[in-house]
């Protein structure tokens, strides 16, 4: 056992103040360890002494070994049975505790070499938590593991989609926000591209972007399909809906409904459109214009497939409450079948609110009695109306102020709708926060563009190099591929101008 342990502890965390040659040495050590772990008889050998090994390995110092031994042990416990989980793997079980310990404290640099095993462990934790009807147990574990591996969370993986689904099932919506609030703008990098042969960074190095190690061959993600992509954004929108963050939900749904298609739309996109209609009524009080990226034939398909939704939106926009009631009752079975009954009920409840908000666009001041007459769709007491208007003003949804009269006999309340100028001091804070959010987004986009330019050889350095190459064009034998190789290997081109040609 001690012999195994000495082999498994041969790799410790890399100190990331090292030089590229140290990184290469470290990379070689790790690959040697992987070769040792992949020997044919190793799983059975290590699995038989896994208890001793797991007790003596540190999940942070020897993450790769710990993960491999745990993986072998789980495989031996589970055998061929993929559906029925062993008690040891279920929450509270011995292997569950070890899995959680590893996922909460692994060394992200070592784990980059074991993407398949890491993902399988994540999937097992999710499955085990759901098997005992306690999905919450896996939520924070999986989220922290995802952020530990890739703090920027900029690359979409199959784990992202599984995690969003898990948070919805667990109803722990705010725990998903640290992932949702990061800007996902890449799919796992395709390996084998021509440009990659000039630059193959070591996995264990410090990289500007996680795209370096989250590739299609790394194992951190299953092969992604259009469905995974759509599901991630649909689930994200549903999480924002649960938190009543309508603008964010609308943004996520607009990504779903404007996904490029050739001739047909998918069922997920239609589901997204139905929710998009309801969310736009709830968030903006009207059907917002379709995303520019969605082509007209797609919009026509949506409208045909979601007729009850567009009819309801039309009635809402025309402020016809009776028609809203008719449309809601007529399509009740459809709302239930689509699991949208909750949103539809919220749309009905939002009608009075929306009518009150619209009054501010027409009038500068009204008494509460007038508000009741103009905005209420059923007889309502003045106290109820005051309560509604006060809640809208106090929550910041309505830009208005209320004035009680001083007459004891006539307790009139006046609502004075404000111009935006008067509320500027209160909007200032929100605006500043919006600017900061936008700046963070710009930062992500900027970094991604720089990274993509570098990968595609579109950066300023490459253009300068191309200019120089054109000057050398009188020497036809000096191929640009050779020169690119030199650039990638850091050789000074000016000094190499007299070098041998081949």
């Amino acid at each position: 056992m001690a012999e195994y342990l000495s082999q498994l502890t041969s790799v410790s965390p890399c100190l990331h103040t090292s030089t590229p040659s140290d990184e290469e040495d470290y990379d070689k050590h790790i690959r040697d360890l992987i070769t040792y772990l992949q020997q044919p008889n190793r799983p059975s050998e290590l699995s038989s002494v896994s208890g001793y090994l797991l007790d003596n390995l540190d999940p942070y110092l020897h993450s790769l070994s710990y993960l491999s031994v745990l993986h072998f042990k789980i495989q031996s416990v589970q055998g061929d049975n993929k559906t029925r989980l062993s008690k040891q793997v279920c929450p509270g079980g011995e292997l569950w505790i070890k899995a959680v310990r590893l996922l909460r404290g692994f060394d992200p640099f070592q784990i980059r070499y074991a993407g398949h095993e890491w993902r399988q462990l994540i999937e097992l934790v999710i499955q085990a938590a759901q098997a005992v009807s306690k999905p919450l147990l896996a939520v924070s574990v999986v989220r922290d593991a995802m952020l530990r591996l890739d703090p920027s969370s900029e690359v979409l993986t199959s784990v992202h989609t599984a995690f969003m689904r898990l948070t919805l099932i667990a109803r722990s919506y705010s725990l998903a926000l640290p992932i949702l609030e990061r800007h996902i703008c890449h799919f796992p990098t395709l390996t084998g591209q021509a440009y990659q042969k000039y630059h193959q960074p070591t996995l264990c190095g410090e990289h500007e972007s996680s795209m370096t190690f989250l590739t299609d061959g790394s194992g951190f993600s299953k092969k992604l399909t259009y469905r995974d992509h759509l599901q991630f954004f649909l689930y994200g929108a549903m999480i924002y809906m649960a938190l009543r963050k309508w603008d964010r939900a609308l943004h996520y749904l607009s990504i779903v409904i404007s996904c490029p298609v050739t001739n047909t739309v998918s069922k997920i996109m239609v589901e997204g459109y139905k929710k998009w209609v309801l969310v736009s009524l709830l968030g903006r009080g009207m059907l917002v214009s379709h995303p520019h990226l969605a082509s007209s034939h797609v919009i026509r398909a949506y409208k045909a497939l979601a007729k009850p939704y567009t009819l309801l939106a039309d009635a809402f926009e025309k402020c016809d409450f009776q028609r809203i009631e008719v449309e809601v009752n007529a399509a009740r079975s459809i709302w239930h079948a689509d699991n949208n009954i909750g949103l539809v009920q919220q749309v009905m409840c939002a009608f009075s609110k929306r009518m009150t908000l619209r009054l501010g666009m027409t009038f500068s001041a009204l008494t509460l009695a007038d508000v009741a007459q103009q905005a209420s769709h059923r007889p309502t007491s003045l106290n109820e109306v005051e309560s509604l208007v006060a809640s809208l003003v106090m929550s910041g949804a309505l830009n208005a102020v209320m004035l009680h009269s001083h007459n004891d006999d006539d307790k009139t309340t006046m609502v004075r709708f404000c111009s935006t100028v008067e509320l500027r001091c209160f909007q200032e804070h929100d605006t500043r926060e919006q600017i900061v959010q936008d700046s963070q987004l710009l930062d992500v986009v900027g970094r991604s563009i720089l990274y993509a330019n570098r990968g595609l050889e579109l950066s300023n350095e490459n253009f300068l190099f191309l200019q120089k190459s054109m000057r050398w064009s009188d020497n036809p034998e000096k191929g640009s591929a050779r020169a690119l190789d030199e650039l990638a290997s850091g050789i000074d081109i000016e000094e190499d101008i007299m070098g041998d040609t081949h």
């Binding site: 929450p91 509270g92 306690k134 919450l136 147990l137 924070s140 574990v141 667990a170 109803r171 722990s172 919506y173 705010s174 725990l175 649960a242 938190l243 009543r244 309560s387 006060a390 809640s391 003003v393 106090m394 929550s395 208005a400 102020v401 209320m402 004035l403 009680h404 001083h406 004891d408 307790k411 004075r416 001091c425 209160f426 804070h429 500043r432 926060e433 600017i435 900061v436 700046s439 710009l442 930062d443 986009v445 900027g446 563009i449 720089l450």
Partner: protein, 216 residues
């Protein structure tokens, strides 16, 4: 960071030692995992779980996360939620806060029986709710009758209607003016709590540098 095991004493310690509602909330988020592990149909830890979920519920309200508070009430063990008096009170309070029934909120906080260990959270929330409502009312009204203002803050409305100086003084102390002739209070808008202002200013000042960096 490893937390001490979840217990009633530990919960009380967390409740009294947390320096801010956010800190309290963040600590309890970490404990929800352990609470979830302990919750089994025949669990003999129902008293601990009741205290945990009640405290966690108040931590949500103290950080103004009412939607997430509702989700939490759906996450907690439903058999416990249906039988435990403290959790039942939490659900009643949630409904009142959700519907902005100010009078009911104060009544629930003051009159319903809450466990002694939960008292600090209940009292903190009453103070928080009162301050938050005062800020909102000061922005929403230009003139308000004392009884209505008292109702928003859970004060004696009958005494306020009579112009009780002690109640009027509570409003004038925050900058409101009292018109004795018209018997109306004139609120002075109170600025929203801007805890993150310094960070925001710092970050906004970095934007131009960012634009310069990527603008070329």
């Amino acid at each position: 960071m490893d937390l001490p095991p979840l217990s009633k004493d530990q919960l009380s310690a967390v409740l009294t030692s947390s320096r801010s509602p956010t800190e309290l909330f963040n600590t309890l988020v970490e404990y929800e995992y352990e609470a979830c592990l302990k919750s089994t149909p025949n669990s003999n830890e129902s008293e601990l779980l009741s205290l945990f979920y009640s405290t966690f519920f108040f931590a949500h309200l103290l950080t103004d996360q009412i939607y997430e508070a509702r989700a939490m009430t759906q996450r907690m063990p439903q058999d416990l939620a249906q039988t435990d008096p403290s959790l039942q009170n939490c659900l009643i309070l949630l409904r009142a806060v959700w519907q902005r029934k100010y009078e009911s909120v104060y009544k629930i906080l003051r009159e319903l029986p809450w466990p002694d260990r939960l008292r600090p959270a209940v009292e903190s929330y009453e103070t928080y709710f009162q301050e938050k409502t005062l800020r909102e009312v000061s922005r929403a009204y230009e003139a308000i009758r004392p009884a209505a203002a008292a109702n928003y803050l859970g004060l004696d409305t009958a005494a306020a209607e009579q112009g009780d100086p002690a109640i009027i003084q509570k409003f004038t102390a925050v900058g409101w003016t009292w018109d004795g002739n018209k018997k109306l209070l004139h609120p002075k808008p109170l600025p929203p709590a801007l805890g993150k202002d310094v960070r925001l200013y710092d970050e906004v000042s970095e934007i131009m540098a960012l634009v310069g960096k990527y603008g070329g």
